[in-house]
């Protein structure tokens, strides 16, 4: 064989081998265990900081048995806490009230069953806003706020479980009636530790699942974060300003929402124009939130320019806000779950008086307040100005 023919043959065989390898790779990738779950990547299943119940030494950290008792018996006796056999094989009842909840048996600063002491889950304003002045330390504390504070009402969430709900696009969904209300947003078998913010290899660690799609993490993939809207501007980190700009949620330079789950889609699975949600606290149905409507919320996707903005927001711009830019998801010392810090500034909203609203609207994001009447009379959810 001529040397040139040899190399030609060699190159062609190389292409052939490459094609074969490519096909094999695709086949191997495609034939993998499609239904592999994500528990071992979850916060609860983590071998370093996952679940580990006090007094249960035989099972490794992250093991099912720390939360679930297969027979409510080990060596002939029920391990502590002794609650008998209860639903979902849990070691204590799944949900009792706003402050008595299986999740709070561990997600509490002191007195929980997680080995090594309590679990600290500070407020959104602290973890993702940088506010070290006013915050809750654990979830039980966050859900314990009463007037003038507020907390996401678990009993109201419980009431919508088992009913037909609609997401912001009008698509039906429903969750089992027997679920713990916390599970509506946090599938405990897949949600991840999201603090500090970790966005590596294209995957954002996220602690949430959508009520309409509880078996998939939300926010981990690109396309599930606030930057998808193209006009999201992250608020300032607490104490930050134009001289030294740092942004939520990580306290760094990222400000396009690429490191923030799309909380709009998450929250509007419930809070939209299709669902009527009763608020026990307010004694009325919640105002509908129309974030995606042309005639909907001014802070939503389709409305006009921002009025008299404070930095980092700019004139002649439209912004789609994340719900968490203003609201705590679990509880707050402010009314309406409003955060204790917004856009880098401390915010106190203890009632619906005009002065409180000024503190909120004018103090955080807008640099002008007309004196016609109380802000809240004209500006609230489902208002287009």
């Amino acid at each position: 064989m001529h040397i040139r023919e040899f190399f030609k043959s060699y190159r062609e065989s190389g292409k052939f081998i490459f094609k074969i390898m490519l096909l094999v790779s695709i086949f191997v990738w495609a034939s993998g265990p499609i239904y592999a779950g994500n528990y071992l990547n979850s916060a609860h299943g983590n071998s370093n900081y996952g679940v580990k119940r006090t007094g249960i030494s035989q099972y490794p950290r992250g093991h099912c048995a720390h939360c679930h008792e297969q027979h409510a018996s080990i060596n002939g006796a029920e391990p502590v806490p002794i609650n008998g056999a209860v639903g979902y094989l849990l070691f204590s009842p799944n949900y009792t009230s706003q402050t008595v909840n299986f999740c709070f048996d561990c997600h509490v600063q002191t007195g929980g069953y997680q080995e090594g002491g309590g679990i600290i889950n500070r407020s959104y304003s602290y973890n993702f806003g940088g506010n070290t002045d006013s915050y809750d330390n654990d979830l039980k504390q966050a859900f314990s706020h009463t007037a003038p504070g507020s907390s996401h009402n678990l009993n109201d969430i419980k009431k919508i479980l088992g009913t037909t709900m609609y997401d912001a696009n009008g698509h039906e969904w429903s969750l089992p009636k027997t679920l713990n209300p916390c599970d509506a947003c946090h599938n405990p078998h897949i949600v991840q530790r999201n603090y500090p913010v970790s966005n590596a290899d294209g995957k954002l660690k996220t602690a949430v699942t959508r009520p309409s799609n509880p078996n998939q993490l939300w926010g981990d993939d690109e396309g599930e974060r606030m930057n998808r809207y193209g006009d999201y501007q992250a608020p300032y980190w607490y104490g930050s300003d134009t001289d030294d700009p740092k942004f939520e949620p990580a306290g760094d330079e990222v400000q396009d929402g690429s490191n923030l789950p799309d909380f709009v889609r998450l929250c509007t699975d419930c809070h939209n124009g299709y669902n009527q949600i009763w608020s026990s606290r307010l004694g009325r149905y919640l105002l509908p939130i129309k974030w995606f409507s042309n005639n909907g919320d001014i802070h939503g996707v389709k409305r006009g320019f921002i009025k008299r903005p404070r930095p980092p927001y700019s004139y002649q711009q439209h912004y789609t806000l994340s719900c968490t830019d203003c609201h705590e998801p679990h509880g707050s010392s402010n009314i309406f779950l409003l955060r204790t810090s917004i856009n880098g500034k401390s915010i106190s909203v203890s009632n619906t008086d005009d002065e409180s609203w000024r503190n909120f609207c004018y103090g955080a994001c807008h640099n002008y307040k007309h004196n016609k009447r109380n802000c809240f009379e004209c500006h609230h959810h489902n208002k287009k100005f």
């Binding site: 239904y35 071992l40 299943g45």
Partner: protein
């Protein structure tokens, strides 16, 4: 001529297969393998019992002229688990291929919580005494058979009498009517016995266990366990539907959610977390599991005799590599991997 030769040849092959394959558990062989006429040979007693795993000669004859009790025959000092056609449930050294029920070796060598604490092999479990978890105290230590055991007629205290005649029963059809006609001599329980006790089990060669869809059906393998571990198989102890209070058994593996993707969505019968069938004798494809039809049972997780693992589980549930610890759970709970 060719046709006659072919037919004759086929008949010979079928006959040979019938002779070679033990299709049922009816004992064959020399009587003296199991019985002694006078409990005396050269002036020495032939009968013996195992005490804590060791043979002790007895001048008191055993009932039915038996040489020894259950454990005496089903024990080996070697590693093989089928010896002269006898299934070995207790090897004094580490068994090479534990049978479907597991092996009592692990109770002695790995710890009391590795298996059932059967009289003659080990003492009572120091934590449990004679009280089975989920049940009420028994007035005697666990036996192989009889009132305090699993095999034989559980209305009869003496385990020899409880097993009387079972090994000689022509048991091609298991209908649960007698001990001999019950699955593995577990009186009343149905199922389909793998002829070699799963010595060389594969996803297509294995026992078929009887399942049920309620707690009152007495022919299921789990209902037998429940005769001692009642709280683990009852409406009050487990509940009647999700959310369950304890891990349910004798329920259909759901054909939805994570369960429909059994065994990494292959639906291959798993020897780590097997299922029972509602009709073990008419399984279309033994190598496959059918969610929505097949049944979760006690033996989906546990070995009846003993296993190397904590709580006689089929996999290493306490392994500090979490992936291994949950490897059995995730066969059914496919979203929890």
């Amino acid at each position: 001529m060719r046709v006659r030769r072919l037919v004759f040849g086929n008949i010979v092959v079928v006959c040979l297969l019938c002779v070679c394959m033990p299709l049922h558990a009816e004992v064959t062989g020399e009587c003296s393998n199991c019985h002694t006429m006078h409990n005396s040979q050269g002036g020495q007693p032939m009968a013996y019992h195992l005490v804590n795993g060791q043979p002790v000669a007895s001048s008191t004859p055993n009932p039915m002229l038996l040489v020894c009790d259950c454990i005496g025959c089903h024990t080996s000092d070697g590693t093989n688990t089928i010896v002269n056609g006898v299934p070995i449930v207790y090897n004094m050294v580490s068994p090479n291929k534990p049978l479907a029920g597991g092996n009592f070796y692990y109770v002695i060598n790995n710890g009391n919580n590795r298996g059932h604490n059967v009289f003659g092999i080990s003492g009572p479990d120091p934590n449990l005494g004679n009280t089975p978890p989920g049940g009420t105290s028994m007035s005697s230590q666990l036996r192989c058979a009889g009132k305090y055991g699993c095999h034989g007629d559980r209305t009869i205290v003496n385990q020899f009498l409880a097993m009387k005649g079972a090994h000689h029963t022509h048991d091609v059809v298991l209908d649960g009517s007698t001990v001999g006609k019950s699955y593995r001599f577990l009186k009343g329980v149905l199922g389909k016995e793998e002829p070699h006790w799963e010595h060389d089990a594969t996803s297509s060669v294995h026992n078929e266990y009887q399942g049920a869809t309620d707690f009152s059906t007495s022919t299921s393998i789990s209902s037998l366990c429940a005769q001692c571990h009642g709280n683990f198989h009852s409406s009050t102890g487990v509940g009647d539907n999700s959310p369950w209070f304890r891990h349910p058994t004798d329920i259909i593996l759901p054909n939805k959610g994570e369960y429909q993707h059994y065994n990494d969505d292959t639906l291959d019968y798993s020897l780590i977390a097997p299922v029972a069938r509602l009709d073990p004798n008419s399984v279309a494809d033994p190598s496959k599991v059918v969610p929505g039809q097949d049944v979760v049972m006690c033996l989906s997780c546990h070995r009846a005799h003993g296993s190397p693992y904590y709580k006689m589980l089929r996999w290493d549930y306490t392994n500090y590599d979490l992936d291994k610890a949950l490897s059995g759970c995730s066969v059914c709970h496919t979203n929890k991997q």
